[in-house]
Symmetry: C2
Subunit: 240 residues, 2 copies
């Protein structure tokens, strides 16, 4: 296990639009050597064309009803419902859903952007593990990729970034069977490594500054896996 | 805003026991310059004598009942209930409570240690902000301190470290009113900086290796605050 980590912003990433070769842009800018690249969902979604003009969205009846209850734009709610399996909680101002990926988060991860003259919504990638893998494939061996989004949490104030897509590393780190310094078996056994890395990178991803990617050195990516590893089985979840 | 962060394990921290001068031990080992020191709760609690021999705990009637329902040691449950305001969820194998500090977590943060011949429980610090402040006072200016514990989360697998005590920095970072590169106002406005730092440090705090403290350089601690800033007002929480 390493004694230090270095996180650095990947420099000079231009504004990303549909069809841009984001994996190539990132691969050119990431330093040599092993490490893990953390990329914010928004640029991934934009490169993949997951952007919708709100003016083109016709809300259905259910979206209109839910929009009234949660006091949101019915066109945004239409997109949120299309991106979701079910509503988890709804109150005025808040709509928490479970996405088709199994993520539980506000607004199915649909972000509104209010450019003058054109309101758009950015949706989550269709398959964030595949998005991560497309980037990883361009980085070469001994390098992992995590795609992140910024989520709120029950009970605690403030947002943190978490992993929504993973390629080239095991998202969980299992300490089961290891013992502590005094020979006692560890109680807390599985750490959410991909979320730890996502959250750490989020410290440098200042939201206003066009810094959508962070390179983490000092940790060798090990194993394989994807988002499914990070999602709790509903049968074992007490807060559905 | 900084472009890079460096996290490093604070070296050579000995096994900590009641009455040890943990703030002094840490201050001797932390490098010069500004930064934020992240310290795992367990060593803080041990130094503060928050350790109980299970053999000395007499479970009350309620603890015996709850212990049966959750299939845990009634003496441990007695401690969990003493450390809590209320039970949030209970099923076989899981007891989630709200602590007197307002933290919602498994087992009120009470950790069992099974040394041969002496079973002990380590409780959370009575006032984790005060614990952080005692350490911060020994580090001098431009240095912040975060005390962390390892929590599970709804909906997601794996544990992450979060802040339970803060001194010398504002736990939340508010981007309200800032605009992105295209001049749009940001939607996600408040990041949980203390939790981001706690979680990041957790990557290096391998649980089996006696590495209870991590020093983070590249970020200047700004502002003041404490755990209360990180706890959501119950009226605004949908998952109580």
């Amino acid at each position: 296990m390493t004694d230090s980590l270095r996180l650095s912003v990947v420099p000079d990433i231009p504004e990303i639009g549909p069809g841009d070769d984001l994996p190539g842009l990132l691969a050119e800018r990431v330093p040599d050597g092993p490490g893990i690249l953390v990329v914010a969902q928004k640029v991934v979604s934009k490169a993949e064309g997951r952007v919708v003009r709100l003016a083109d969205v016709v809300p259905g009846e259910r979206a209109i009803q839910v929009a009234k209850a949660v006091e949101k734009d019915p066109r945004q709610v239409e997109l949120i419902l299309r991106e979701s399996r079910r509503i988890v909680r709804q109150v005025p101002g808040v709509l928490i859903t479970e996405t088709h990926h199994g993520l539980i988060c506000a607004n199915s991860g649909v972000d509104l952007s209010n450019s003058p003259g054109e309101e758009t919504a950015v949706l989550l990638p269709l398959d964030p593990d595949a998005s991560a893998e497309r980037i990883r494939a361009r980085l070469g061996p001994r390098r992992g990729v995590i795609v992140t989004d910024t989520f709120g949490r029950p009970w605690r104030e403030g947002f943190v970034d978490v992993a929504i897509g993973v390629a080239g590393l095991a998202p969980l780190r299992d300490f089961t069977g290891e013992t502590d310094l005094e020979g006692r078996e560890l109680q807390v056994t599985v750490m959410a490594l991909a979320d730890q890395l996502a959250t750490a990178a989020g410290i440098l991803m200042e939201k206003s500054a066009g810094r959508p990617a962070v390179w983490i050195e000092g940790i060798e990516p090990v194993g394989t896996g994807g988002l499914a590893d990070l999602l709790r089985d509903p049968d074992r979840d007490l807060f559905r």
